[in-house]
């Protein structure tokens, strides 16, 4: 990529505020804009922007995590139980994670929609699918952080059986589920953000679509929460994997149509 040293003003000292009048500042076109970035570079640029903005607004991750913790407390009182195991434990964990994820999904595109981020991206000579990938990766990152907070909290507050042996399998199942949630969550977020009832439509659309994830995830997790933990059944992992594949591809294929004005 050529540097602007070919432009007439490279010799200007740092304290000069404006170039001499009458001379085009920008130099030749090819001196400035190099090759448009490929897919990976675009995703990297977008992801970098996401991860710069999120810590400054703290709109997603702290809210999701706090919500999960509060929900565990609510479950304690609602179910009137001090500890849960098996199916019940798996169910509580997945429901809580799902609803916390919905919070993150709701916020995912809000900054872009409100601050003209879509237009800025659409003007660039890049593959538009990169925005789906970048946003889904960001959502995935938020979900992982959420789980790093929620799972220990769950083990502490509600879970009866001890967890350490089952942890690797648990995180494996969660990872599979997270990918599906990220794919569908990003698609639904993009769909809902430019409608009138964006905060309502997001959950309404996402929850039914995520039912297979809940089915696969909860069924896979419940043997891990049994008093004598056993491995998850392969069929549930396959269900999750199939879902991830199908909806990952669909989200990627359809996303462009949502970005246009």
């Amino acid at each position: 990529m050529s540097t602007p040293t070919e432009s007439p003003h490279s010799a200007a000292p740092a304290d000069a505020q404006a170039p001499p009048r009458g001379e085009p500042v920008s130099g030749r076109a090819d001196a400035v804009a190099g090759k448009p970035p490929g897919m990976a570079a675009t995703v990297a640029a977008l992801l970098r922007k996401e991860l710069l903005v999120e810590p400054r607004t703290l709109e997603s991750v702290p809210g999701m995590s706090l919500f999960a913790l509060t929900t565990f407390v609510v479950f304690h009182f609602a179910l009137n139980r001090n500890s849960v195991d098996g199916d019940l434990a798996a169910g509580i964990l997945w429901v809580t994670l799902l609803f916390a994820a919905i919070l993150g999904v709701n916020r995912l595109f809000v900054a872009d929609a409100d601050q003209g981020g879509f237009d800025g991206f659409l003007l660039a000579p890049v593959d538009r699918g990169a925005m789906l990938v970048a946003k889904a990766l960001a959502l995935l990152a938020y979900l992982v952080v959420l789980e790093l907070v929620a799972v220990p909290a769950f083990a502490l507050l509600l879970l009866g059986p001890s967890l350490p042996n089952a942890l690797p399998s648990l995180f494996g199942v969660l990872a599979l589920g997270d990918v599906g949630v990220a794919a569908i969550g990003t698609l639904v977020a993009a769909l809902a953000v430019r409608t009138r009832a964006r905060d309502l439509l997001g959950p309404l659309l996402a929850l039914p679509l995520l039912v297979p994830i809940v089915i696969g995830g909860a069924r896979a997790t419940s043997p891990l929460f049994a008093t004598h933990a056993t491995a998850p059944a392969a069929r549930w992992l396959l269900t999750l994997g199939l879902y991830d594949l199908v909806f990952g591809l669909i989200a990627y294929a359809l996303f462009d149509f949502l970005l246009e004005d």
Partner: protein, 268 residues
């Protein structure tokens, strides 16, 4: 364009349904276990099958819409989904009646078809609110198509997942269509055909009605000599409308020029 063949279609629908009903009541044998109530199977399962096919058809039409940007595909997709949703409600109601009769409960979680339909119903019930929440008609159609395709892919996925999760509990009784003895199979086939025809006819009627309404609006506008620029007086709606503006690329009157308003209409 849409009105063609409507009468033939209606007549054949009524005829086939009449035959199906007589077969159901007079020809199909009584089920040994469930007796007369089992006959609801001949309504419940065809409704389910036709509704599912309708949702998938809606998804395919949505793909056509996104590829061609022709709003007529969006209209067809909307009607297909809308009608399937109604047939889906029918599935839930007939299934519920059967469950009450057979098991004593209005709802059973052990029947995967019923459960899957509930989830699918909850999903497609958001289709119209989604459309209603988007004012720009072109964007409304586009977003609706994206939804229709996603939901269409979801339907089989959902069935697989729910089937797997209920597999342990009970053998499928309501929805089983395998191993049907001859007379039952025939009755089932005719019922299925009848319900499929009913679906197609109703969709055709709705499409024709919308199309006609659009033509009427267009004629009225031309007669009163209004310019095309008048603000639409119609309230915001979830249903797509065909608006034959002269500059529309897929105008119903493709020979209309861009600036001149032709008084005579070419045959539609």
């Amino acid at each position: 364009m849409y009105g063609k063949g409507l009468r033939a279609l209606s007549i054949s629908t009524v005829a086939v349904m009449a035959i199906a009903l007589s077969l159901v009541f007079f020809y199909a044998p009584l089920d040994a276990e469930q007796g007369f109530l089992q006959k609801i199977f001949y309504v419940h399962v065809p409704l389910a099958i036709v509704a599912l096919c309708g949702f998938v058809a809606g998804a395919i039409m949505a793909i056509a819409h996104l590829r061609t940007r022709d709003p007529r595909w969006d209209m067809r997709s909307y009607v297909a989904i809308h009608m399937s949703l109604i047939f889906g409600v029918g599935t839930l109601i007939t299934g519920s009646i059967w469950a009450k009769g057979s098991w004593g409960h209005w709802w059973v979680w052990s029947e995967p078809t019923l459960v899957s339909f509930l989830i699918v119903f909850l999903l497609y019930a958001t289709y119209q609110p989604l459309r209603f929440a988007i004012e720009d008609p072109e964007r409304q159609a586009r977003y609706a198509s994206v939804f229709a395709i996603t939901a269409g892919a979801f339907v089989p996925m959902n069935f697989i997942a729910v089937r797997l999760s209920t597999a342990y509990l009970h053998p499928r009784v309501l929805g089983s269509t395998s191993n049907l003895p001859g007379p039952m199979a025939l009755t089932f086939a005719v019922s299925l055909l009848g319900i499929a025809l009913l679906y197609t006819t109703l969709c055709r009627y709705e499409l024709t009605a919308k199309h006609t309404r659009a033509q009427l609006r267009d004629l009225r506008r031309r007669l009163s000599g209004e310019t095309v620029d008048t603000q639409t007086r119609r309230p915001r709606s979830a249903a797509p409308t065909l608006h034959p503006t002269a500059t529309h690329p897929t105008a119903m009157h493709p020979t209309a020029t861009m600036t001149a308003r032709a008084v005579g209409r070419p045959g539609a």
